[in-house]
Each structure stands twice: as C-alpha cells, then as structure tokens.
C-alpha cells in the first residue's frame, strides 16, 4: 500500500480524491453564496457560523487548504513528468481530432484558477484572518452592531474590474470542470453503465456552478 502513490496509477488516484473533495467544497461554497441573493440576514448568519464554528475553522479549513495545495502540486508534478515523457514533439499535432481542448489544457485552466484563488484569498480570506485572529474580533459585527459579512461582500463587488476578473475565472473553472469531473471518476476506476449519466451530470455541474457564481458576482455589482 505504501508505494501506491509512487506509481502513475496511484498519483492519478490521489489527484482524483483531492478533486472530489474540492468539488464537494465548491457546492457548499456556492450554496452559502447563493443565500446572499435571497436574504442578507440568512447569509450573515451562515457566514458567521462558518467563520466561528471551531470544527470548520480548525479542522475543515486546514484540510481545505491542504487539499488545494495538494491538488495544485500534484497537478504540476504530473505535468512535468508528462512533458518529460516526450522530449521531441511532433511538427504537426492534430489534438482536436481525438480529444477536447479542455482535456488537453487542464494545467492552464488550473493555473488561472490558482491565480484567481490568490485574488480571492486577498479579497476575503486574509481580511477574515486579520480581523478574527490578529485583531481578535470574533464578533462578526460592524460598529453599528450589525453583521459585517453581507456589507463586505457588496463592497468587494463594486469594482467592475474585480467583477470582470471573477467572471473570467469562473469561465476557466467551468472549462476545468468540464473535463475534471468525469476524469476524476475514471481515475478511481469508475467506468460502468452509469458513466454516460454521470458525464451528463458532470457537464451540468461544470456549467451550473460557475454560472451561478457569475450570477452572484453580477447581482451584487448591479445592486
């Protein structure tokens, strides 16, 4: 068992496991963000709960950060190994004849998502860490006594360039997921009579979730 992650099959298995974890997290993140469209109060309550509940903060959050770093590092490791497997490339290579653009460019769509995560951490995560753990303010409220989360969210989406960057990043997230969703199942050996349906569901997931995030960003920009 120990040597499993030193093999090509094992590395892909590990990559798929981290992908499953991140895809589940994405749904949870989307669900909470969507609350902000329907009810500022509910969004505030949910955000405060996620931001102060110790299980989320001290168990799930470190696992999430590890999952993101692991997925990126493993992706880079696989990419480097794969590039090294063909030192001399083809003069003419017709990739479109046998595979999708998304499947051949996961590393590039992934790199854009990573850059976006840098911006997202700068926008939301670092200020949260600063407020809660450096300034020691766990109240989650403004000077007025009201919850600050919805207010901060709307403030961030005032800038049109930030909104544009977010929307563009979600397009790349969609492209990444259009291949990544079904690829993760294939990597863990799940290819059977349900695969066709799963691929359809994967495509829907890869379009609906990023589109939903785009909608939320635009909603707050125009409101």
């Amino acid at each position: 068992m120990g040597g499993i992650f030193n093999s090509s099959v094992g590395r892909k298995f590990a990559m798929a496991l981290s992908a499953f974890f991140l895809m589940i997290f994405l749904v949870q993140h989307f669900a909470i963000n969507l609350l902000s469209v329907f009810s500022a109060d509910t969004f505030n309550e949910a955000s405060h709960f996620m931001g102060t509940f110790w299980v989320v903060q001290y168990i799930f959050q470190p696992i999430l950060i590890f999952g993101v770093i692991f997925h990126f590092v493993m992706g880079m490791v696989l990419e480097i190994r794969n590039k090294n497997a063909r030192s001399i490339g083809y003069v003419k290579y017709n990739g479109n004849a046998n595979s999708t653009w998304m499947s051949r460019n996961m590393i590039y769509t992934g790199a854009v998502i990573l850059l976006f995560l840098g911006l997202h951490f700068y926008d939301f995560w670092l200020p949260e860490i600063n407020t809660k753990f450096i300034q020691g303010d766990m109240s989650g409220t403004l000077a007025s006594g009201e919850y600050r989360y919805y207010e901060e969210l709307q403030h961030k989406f005032v800038d049109v360039w930030r909104v544009a960057l977010y929307c563009l990043s979600f397009v790349f997230l969609s492209l990444h997921l259009l291949h990544g969703f079904s690829s993760a199942f294939q990597s863990v050996g799940a290819n059977n009579k349900y695969t066709k349906g799963l691929r359809g569901f994967g495509k829907a997931y890869a379009i609906v979730i990023p589109l939903g995030f785009i909608f939320i960003a635009l909603y707050h920009h125009f409101n």
Partner: protein, 248 residues
C-alpha cells in the same frame, strides 16, 4: 494525385533528424499509404538516394508493425485502421502530408520513421502471461466455463495489437491503454486470476520505469486505437491496481 510529402529523416538513433520535402506524382486514390511510400522509395533508390526507412509487416492491420504519425494523427486521418489500411483516397490532389515517427521517449527513433517499441515487450514480460501446466495434464481451456460477457470483454481487450498508437496520440505519451488491455485480457478470465495481483503491480511498475507519462483521461488513445480498445479497460486496470495495492 500530386502531393508534397514532408518526412522525418534521421540517420540513426544518435543523430539529429529533420523534416525533408519530397514531391511525388502519379499517386492513385486506391493505393495504400505504404504503397505510396514504396513508390517514393523506388524513386529515391533510382536516384541513388537513401530510401525512407519505415516499419511494416503484414499490411493487413493485424501485426501492429506500421507506426506512422500522419498529418498530426497516429495511423493518419481515418479511424479504426492501421497505417497499412490507410488509402490515398483520404487525401486530395495538391495536399501536403506530414509523416513523422511515433514520438515518446520510451519509443526512441532507430532510423527515419522506425521506432523501438521493445518497451512494450518488457511490460509484457513483467506480467502479461498466465501459468499453465504443460506437463501433459493441461486442462483444455474450452472445458472451463466462462461467462459470455467476460469472455467477450477479454477477447475485445486481446484484440490490442500493441502498435503504440495510444502512446503516440496521448499528449502525455501514456501507455495506459496498452497496459490496461493486456491486464484486462487475463484479469477477466479464470486462468488469469492466479497471478492477477502480481500482474497488474508488475506491469504498471514496468510501464513507469520505461518512462511513459501519466494518463489524464483525454481519451485520445481510444479514438486513435485501430482496434477501438475502450477507456473502460483503463478504469478496470485502475481498480485492479488499487485492489492489488491494498492486498500488498
């Protein structure tokens, strides 16, 4: 048909190669691609030039020897065929055709368009076999009841001719479709169960040692495979490998 061929020429494994242009005329649509190359070589020999080296044997799509990368695809623009089954009717008068060897570090070029695919043989040696009593008490394979579905699946996997198009088409030079077919053709049958654990572990280990890349499930191998070997076999191999790893 009048064509321009751009062909990879490389004197031997130790020298650098380059693309060389060869105009060719009088090509008929009913000719096979290899017959077209035969005509080119006859012409080169008549001119006192070195003919283009390329692999071929049965010329009926069975042996898996022909290995050309034509206009950006292994075995050319047609699907479900080997290079020897490719006909010139797939091209138009005036076309330029790029002809290159299969590219992968695990398939080093020997000369021109000929590559060394012995890495596949070493993977087979690592586990692509079953133990059979040959001392006179051999059980007739037909006497062992096998589920029809499993027999069909095993047979489908066994149609892999080991041509290497999967490696050539994969952007990662992954050999997983080949290895998956070889693992599955035994794993599905009772005779192959005895060494199932060792087989998949040893064949994957050898595949990695040969320097093939990782599968990223692009599906290019399945599309370009002349025998239509399905990605389902890679998923099966992944399952076999994970189960074997847990057994230790």
């Amino acid at each position: 048909m009048k064509l321009t061929l751009k062909i990879w020429r490389q004197k031997n494994a130790d020298t650098k190669g380059k693309m060389v242009d060869y105009p060719i005329d009088g090509i008929d649509g009913d000719m096979s691609f290899l017959e077209m190359l035969d005509i080119l070589n006859e012409d080169l020999i008549n001119k006192g030039e070195e003919p283009v080296a390329f692999d071929h044997d049965c010329r009926e799509g069975i042996c898996g020897m022909c290995s050309l990368h034509i206009n950006g695809e292994p075995h050319g623009p047609d699907k479900g065929i080997t290079t020897c089954q490719l006909h010139m009717r797939m091209f138009k008068d005036g076309d330029t055709i790029f002809i290159e060897p299969f590219r992968a570090n695990a398939f080093p070029v020997i000369k021109d368009l000929v590559v060394d695919r012995s890495s596949f043989d070493r993977i087979q040696h690592a586990g692509g076999f079953i133990s059979v009593n040959t001392s006179g008490n051999t059980i007739d394979a037909n006497a062992i009841p096998i589920n029809k579905h499993d027999a069909d699946e095993a047979f489908e996997a066994a149609t892999c001719i080991g041509c290497g198009a999967c490696v050539a088409s994969c952007k990662n030079s992954s050999a997983m479709l080949f290895v998956a077919a070889k693992v599955s053709q035994f794993a599905l049958l009772p005779q192959g169960k005895v060494e199932a654990t060792e087989r998949v572990l040893n064949m994957v280990k050898q595949m990695d040692e040969e320097g093939f890349g990782n599968c990223t499930n692009t599906g290019a191998c399945e599309v370009e495979c002349p025998k239509g070997i399905s990605l389902e076999y890679i998923a099966r191999m992944n399952r076999e490998y994970l189960a074997a790893s847990l057994k230790g």
